[in-house]
Symmetry: C2
């Protein structure tokens, strides 16, 4: 079979079994998630073995230690995968709810019934935990899933998906509810993106080139999970001690994730007071600072930031710093250079806080808190499939409820239109 034929077959299968899945009860779904969780526990050694193959190849290829870290599945991480499926089982089932129902003057009862999207394709990079969490959330929300992970994690992904499918088989459910594209050929994704007859939505999670390739080639609707170029703006009326703690946390606590701060904006009026101490603390934590000329003139040891720096998602202990002339310039900078992910203002001024919330065009806009909170769990939504950076369908952290659609149900007693 050609790659194209393989993809069509997978997509057709997914669509076909999605109808079975859509009609499972909450109890049946939760039992299957529990089963998946225990099979992952039972197969810890096998998972580690397969993961080791990927890790060794990555080392031979000379991939970065950060990359290898994200790729590695140790005992603790496998425990966490198993646990995350249990947590998903405990979440409320979004499917089958009536969101609202009303009566029309002619007596028709009209309601919005929550239904699965159908078939979801998820294309992501080399973190094998995404394989399990994405499959679990799609399953919970009644969607068949086709997974395409990074080629560097192929052995890990295969063993994990085989375990999830075994759980389905043990419970007499169709295994093709969860499918993995097992070829590492790039052609496969290209073919998949054209199958809008069978697949309802594509979720790409990754960097610029992945997102761009998917957006340009997909005839299926896409929900983008793009990079996080997150800002913190320390406004002139900020509590400077609070600002220092928030900025330090946003940059240093976990620099390799999308909700970490990449650019610090400081109001000119308090820059001399705030910046030297802040920069000193960052330097002690090993953060490299790149600043505009004004910042450079205020504090020593700051490299020159280029125009490109303002667009960068470092995912590392690097921070760009810009001194701005008030809130207008800060908002302009964020909307122009940011990625619409997470941005914060630190201020005690009510009007400025309100203006920032209103005018910053990002998925998550903060007052007086670290951008590091942008996360389905931290927001109280349960597990997340990722963080949408687009406006259509869902924006920000997406949980099981965001993987649904609805249909109108209309209950009559013989009404006709006149």
């Amino acid at each position: 079979m050609s790659i194209k034929e393989q993809m069509v077959q997978m997509a057709k299968e997914a669509k076909s079994v999605s109808k079975v899945l859509a009609n499972l009860s909450s109890k049946e779904k939760d039992e299957a998630l529990q089963k998946m969780s225990s099979l992952i526990q039972e197969n810890r050694e096998k998972i580690k073995e397969e993961n080791k193959k990927d890790v060794e190849k990555a080392k031979i290829k000379g991939l970065s230690s950060a990359f290898i870290d994200r790729l590695t599945l140790n005992e603790k991480r496998i425990q966490r995968l198993s646990f995350s499926l249990e947590e998903i089982a405990k979440l409320e089932d979004p499917i089958g709810k009536i969101k609202s129902m009303w009566k029309r003057p002619n007596g028709l009862l009209i309601g919005k019934l929550v239904v699965p999207l159908g078939v979801i394709g998820i294309i992501y990079e080399s973190r094998p935990n995404v394989t399990v969490e994405a499959a679990g959330l799609c399953f919970k929300s009644g969607n068949a899933v086709i997974l395409k992970g990074g080629s560097e994690a192929i052995n890990s992904n295969i063993v994990l998906v085989d375990i999830l499918r075994q759980a389905l088989k043990d419970l007499n459910l169709p295994q093709n509810i969860i499918q993995l594209i097992r070829t590492t050929s790039r052609e496969a994704v290209g073919e998949l993106l054209k199958l809008n007859e069978y697949i309802d939505v594509i979720i790409p999670r990754g960097g610029e080139s992945l997102i761009q390739a998917v957006t340009e080639n997909s005839t299926i609707p896409v929900i983008k999970h793009y990079k996080g170029v997150c800002h913190t703006f320390v406004e002139k009326d900020a509590d400077l001690k609070m600002a220092e703690e928030i900025c330090f946390n946003a940059k240093v606590q976990r620099p390799g994730v999308c909700n970490a701060m990449e650019t610090l904006l400081v109001d000119k009026k308090i820059a001399k007071q705030f910046l030297p101490k802040m920069v000193e603390r960052f330097k002690q934590a090993g953060v490299e600072i790149r600043g505009d000329e004004l910042a450079q003139s205020m504090v020593g040891g700051i490299k020159k930031a280029t125009e490109q720096d303002w667009f960068r998602e470092y995912l590392d202990l690097i921070l760009s710093v810009k001194i701005v002339d008030g809130i207008e310039e800060a908002i302009y900078h964020i909307n122009h250079y940011g990625s619409g992910h997470s941005d914060a203002i630190v201020t005690q001024n009510y009007d400025k806080a309100r203006k920032f919330l209103q005018e910053v065009d990002s998925a998550a806009v903060y007052v007086n808190a670290s951008t590091r909170f942008t996360d389905g769990g931290e927001f109280g939504l349960g597990a997340e499939i990722g963080i949408s950076t687009q406006k259509l369908h869902a924006r920000g952290p997406m949980g099981a409820a965001e993987l649904t659609s609805y249909k109108f149900i209309i209950l009559g007693e013989g009404q006709i239109r006149t």
Copy 2:
């Protein structure tokens, strides 16, 4: 300027002024809608004059009388356009609402704030009333709009959009909040569909070829408004008198619209009892019947339906009829041949009703009512931009509330992540 440059300029302008529009108060928006409404009233003669040019060209081209009817703007229809803008002004403003807000254990207050999508592109065929209603709804929901109507309505569209823009100008609002692609070149749409940097969503309204061309070429997210191949299934436990009234209404009351019935499915067990009388009534109303062999054998004067007929949206006094062996076959037929628009069951049996509601995968699923009710106004949503036949973002009738997104706002008092 090349067509490409023109499109980029329009899209950039739209994005730029969308920020002004997003921050207008409800009062300012409603005043502008009122102004648009009265300028349409005042310019009735001019509108009729320009519309006449389009109608005459269409007659010379020999376009169908149904087409010319949809194209024509008479006194009454212009009144209705003016009135529809007043109605939109009276709708609740969806923007700026907090959909929900909750407090996390760490004290963070998290809310979902409703915001406009940004810039919407609407591509539609030759009904000039869409120009006004779409512009009005986009404006109400805080979205800049780029309209591309059918080339046969170009003079009508130009005069209508000029009037709407005059209203914006009179109130010192940026005119480019409402833009019309004034060239009839097909290249323009092709270029527009690539401008995902500036445009947030494309809504194509029309037939198969339009929808397909947009889906295949757009790098911007699309909300499809596709055809309505609507079914009514007369189940064996139906009240047959009720079924007759519902079927007659669904087919005959206004056959040229997307929520009219195109296929009648009749349970084998009651077909002999129900069909002859029903067919007779349809024939008296001038409906041509195309049926499967079983239907042909039961009633005289039924043409043979081909496989293609089951997929057809006639938009005319033509009906295809199939005798089915129970609800399973009916549901299979609807999900296979239908377009996911509006489908009804007529039955007094509770279990069958419930099964039909659950398993028919359409935007609007009815029990004991005519499919003709699928409409924003009839559903109580106010005016509609159209009827989405896809699952992502919005499904079924879309009003102003469906033209919005949200952002998370997070109000802290110094919270950091540990």
